[in-house]
Amino acid sequence: MAHATKLVPFRVNFIYMISIIFITILVPSDDDRLLGGSGVASSPFVIAIQDSGIPGIASLLNAGMMCGLLAIAAESVYISSRVLRTMAHQNLISERLAKVDSAGRPRWTLLITAATAVFLGYIQLSCKLA
């Protein structure tokens, strides 16, 4: 099995579990800011740093989280489009969707995935406004 795969349990245990344990110690579960009571849903990590009064670090964390979110969004579009293309190869959906351009990108499946993502994004926005 690949070396990266073997490291997954250790990564999950070390990085995620320890940070979650720390955050449960730092932020009360009934903090108004956690559930967006102040108007903006905050990250518990940012709340903990804001409470301690250290300037700058909260913005750094927010910037890092934006990078992470961007990467996750790109990964989701990438994986969904490739799954659609594989389905087209297996004749589960129209074979036309399996076509790629000169650079090897499945443009039709990418277009469908992106359109679905935008549509779902707008649904979430309209729910918040209602």
Partner: protein
């Protein structure tokens, strides 16, 4: 969408860089959280030898309920159990693959010693 209009290598580099950012961000969060627990910052919590249940995060009646703690620990135990299963499953799969490999080797040597059985197989692939 701009990233998908560029070559695939750009996407790969983007994923590489953002993954590194995420890992370093989590490490920073862990170190920072440890510092905050110990009371870092201008508004940091000053410790006076109290127990961990007397910290601000546990003064909302959440920690004093014993059954809540039991559920939380059970949850944590469940996560550890899943991790253990992952590791065990990994070794079982490895053993199975090794056994399969030996079986294939034995089969292969048997076929090699009895060339009559290989008539239908192309010689270029042996």
């Amino acid at each position: 969408m701009v990233i998908f209009l560029l070559p695939n290598t750009v996407f790969a580099w983007f994923e590489y860089v953002t993954s590194l950012i995420k890992i370093f961000l989590f490490l920073l969060i862990i170190l920072l959280s440890l510092a905050l627990v110990l009371g870092a910052g201008p508004h940091g919590y000053v410790h006076h030898g109290e127990t961990w249940t007397q910290h601000p995060a546990f003064l909302n009646g959440f920690a004093v309920r014993w059954h809540t703690q039991v559920i939380l620990f059970a949850d944590l135990f469940g996560v550890l159990q899943v991790q253990l299963c992952w590791l065990c499953g990994q070794s079982v799969i490895k053993c199975a693959l090794e056994l399969l490999g030996e079986k294939c080797k034995a089969l292969d040597s048997r076929w090699r010693t009895r060339p009559n059985l290989c008539r239908s197989v192309s010689t270029s692939s042996i």
